[in-house]
């Protein structure tokens, strides 16, 4: 048993991420060489896999563990008429290529329209495929989402996808460790999305580069699994390799009874093992950031990277507000792109579109929270609204709870699952100059469509903004 032998040898106090890492080292790298890391679960989708499968074919290689590989179609899929053929020819071809590859290499694929289909980072956890202590990779940078369960989960490129398909391992240099502790009481109306946007605002887009973040403190302990997924999801926006939270009773309760969760005696053994997945008391992190929960306000991004955030009751900053000349230059460019003058209250800014969805905020709890805000109200004139559930399961659950009706009654467009307007690979796009309040994760230039202007917000703020027609918190609607 290579990992147990290794674990007993090690008496140094270790952080959670170090413990999980050590469990997965197949061969240790010496003298600065990378470790060869075993991968427990490989999630794939249509965009970053076709060239990887091509590489396997060219070299006559097989998929080593099709049973540890699961595919879903999400990035390209339209969010209406999923029972019809896809109109966009290149999207249709990419989806068809995934289906052919999955069939050829014996990989389970949840095709568009299947009840288990959905955004890859919504599907994995809801199927119980994501469990504490695992290593999980996917050709998608938001793979860190799965860290909410106390797993090391990170995004990889297509060459690495091919590598994992062929070997179920990856050569990886051990990352550094970073603790982000948020302690204290959150103000009413402050959501997990606001917490992570605030964190990224503090550490910057490069603050986590080369490190795995462990989110610690009572704020994360008190969060639901959905909230923890929202937080871990955006670790990459702070540059981190991955983000994770120690598993606890909340984690176990979420997992119990899911299709791929252990059962019977295996469940008991698994839980006993998972309880050991905590950072040792004496362990130290390479870097520690401590944030007082009380200082976090509902957030809105004002610029073109996810560190350019502000409190919703604040004024849009200007280049002069930044001491660092790099940040000042980046701010000046962002203000120009976003069509802003410094000093304007963000609440006076009107929007054209509201998007509720994405791997960050499309789970049942997100939809419940947004529905509670819009219930009995009407979307402001001229505002286009999309609600895109994260998966077929989320959609069915929401419809069973009548959330779809609440959204429809308020004037929202209720859609079928997929990545949708988060990255605009399907027909859901912004037009040049259009401004959008979005529950997604990236406000890069053109991210939601060429020339589009994206503002990252929580589902609650997105919902309130749709009703008000300008940026608003739910409390502004009363």
């Amino acid at each position: 048993m290579p990992f147990t032998a290794r674990e007993t040898e090690m008496s140094e106090p270790r952080t959670l991420s170090q413990k999980i890492w050590d469990r997965h080292v197949v061969t240790a790298g010496l003298g600065g060489d990378p470790d060869l890391l075993y991968i427990d679960l490989h999630l794939i989708h249509e965009v970053t896999s076709p060239q990887a499968f091509d590489g396997l074919r060219m070299n006559g290689r097989r998929v080593r563990r099709p049973d540890l590989t699961v595919a879903t179609e999400d990035h390209n899929t339209p969010t209406i008429n999923q029972d019809q053929p896809i109109e966009d020819e290149t999207s249709a071809k990419q989806i068809e290529t995934l289906r052919v590859n999955a069939e050829h290499f014996g990989i389970v694929n949840y095709p568009m329209g299947h009840e288990n289909n959905g955004i890859v980072h919504v599907m994995g956890p809801e199927q119980g495929l994501t469990q504490p202590g695992m290593t999980i990779v996917c050709g998608d940078s938001h793979t860190a989402t799965h860290g909410a369960f106390g797993a090391i989960a990170f995004g990889i490129g297509t060459s690495e996808v091919e590598h994992v398909l062929a070997t179920q391992t990856l050569p990886q240099t051990k990352p550094g460790t970073m603790a982000i502790t948020v302690q204290g009481e959150l103000e009413p109306g402050v959501t997990p999305k606001d917490v992570i946007l605030h964190v990224i605002g503090v550490i910057g887009t490069g603050g986590g580069i080369g490190k795995i973040i462990e989110y610690r403190g009572n704020v994360f302990e008190n969060m639901s699994m959905e909230g923890r997924m929202t937080v871990c999801n955006m670790s990459i926006e702070g540059g981190a390799k991955a983000g994770l939270i120690a598993p606890d009773e909340t984690t176990f309760a979420y997992l119990k009874g899911r299709p791929h969760a252990p059962t019977g005696a295996d469940w008991d053994a698994a839980v006993a093992d998972w309880r050991t997945l905590v950072t040792d008391e004496d362990a130290t992190f390479d870097e520690e950031v401590v944030i007082d929960a009380a200082e976090i306000r509902p957030q809105v991004s004002w610029g073109t990277n996810p560190a350019q955030v502000m409190p919703i009751d604040g004024l849009i900053p200007g280049p002069d507000d930044f001491d660092d000349p790099n940040l000042a230059n980046t701010a000046a460019r962002a203000l120009e792109y976003m069509g802003f003058e410094a000093g304007m209250p963000i609440k006076e800014v009107t929007v054209d579109t509201v998007f509720i969805g994405s791997c960050t905020n499309s789970r049942i709890e997100d939809l419940r929270a947004a529905a509670a805000v819009v219930s009995g109200r009407t979307v402001a004139d001229g505002v286009r609204t999309l609600v895109v559930p994260g998966s077929g399961k989320v959609r069915a659950q929401a419809e069973a709870e009548g959330l779809d009706q609440i959204f429809r009654d308020a004037g929202f467009d209720w859609r079928e699952p997929g990545c949708s307007m988060c990255l605009a690979m399907n027909p859901d796009k912004l037009q040049p100059g259009e401004r959008c309040a979005s529950t997604s994760n990236r406000n890069f230039e053109g991210r939601q469509g060429r020339g589009g202007r994206t503002h990252l917000v929580s589902p609650q703020v997105a919902a309130a903004t749709a009703i008000a027609g300008h940026f608003a918190a739910p409390s502004d609607l009363d």
Partner: protein, 197 residues
């Protein structure tokens, strides 16, 4: 992967921080199932601006890209690396690369050259002042230099990664040398871990 020992030529100064992979290759381009043909998509939205640095004639033919801090942040799309290479670049210089982008570079033979912020700023200014300035990146000595103006520094690369650059080795082939270790590891995995039937 093709072996890379020396990269020499002129450079394009892309003086912006936080250049994310959505800018390097917008998502419309990700629908291709081929590995080639991405050069037209490189910075395609920024290239609409005639003043954009890649459109400036004095930088045509350059094979080194100099970027700012946090180069390659965001999406994991390896298409970003393919686009940069297929456009004609053999190396990218920046004070700090995003992890996934940097990994993707090393899988494709695009040399990621991490230098200090000060050196990067000096180099950027020097190339802006003289677009014909010749740079040399030596992957064996791990140096980057502009001999004409006496600028030189070193850059880090893991020994294993450096060896792969110099030898042009196939990563998967190297890993498969450890197949018996992988077999042994797999035999000891916890029985309850999820798997498809």
């Amino acid at each position: 992967m093709k072996a890379v020992r020396i990269v020499s030529g002129t450079a394009v100064p892309l003086d912006r921080t936080d250049v994310d992979t959505d800018q390097i290759i917008p998502s419309d381009w990700l629908k291709r199932v081929e590995r080639t043909g991405f050069e037209k998509g490189l910075f395609s939205e920024w290239r609409d601006d005639r003043e954009f640095v890649l459109n400036q004639e004095q930088y045509s033919g350059a094979n080194i890209l100099i970027g700012g801090l946090n180069f390659g942040t965001g999406s994991s799309r390896e298409h970003a690396v393919w686009a940069i290479q297929q456009y004609g670049f053999d190396a990218v210089i920046s004070p700090r690369f995003a992890d996934i982008f940097r990994n993707n570079c090393t899988k494709n033979g695009l040399v990621p050259v991490t230098v200090s912020a000060e050196f990067n700023a000096q180099l950027m200014a020097a190339v802006q002042a003289d677009p014909t300035l010749e740079l040399t990146i030596d992957v064996e000595r791990l140096t980057v230099e502009a001999p004409a103006i006496g600028l030189e520094t070193t850059f880090p690369l893991d020994p294993a990664v450096q060896e792969r650059f110099l030898e042009g080795l196939d990563d998967i082939g190297l890993t498969l040398r450890h197949e018996s270790d992988i077999d042994e590891f797999e035999a000891a995995r916890k029985p309850w871990m999820p798997a498809q039937a």
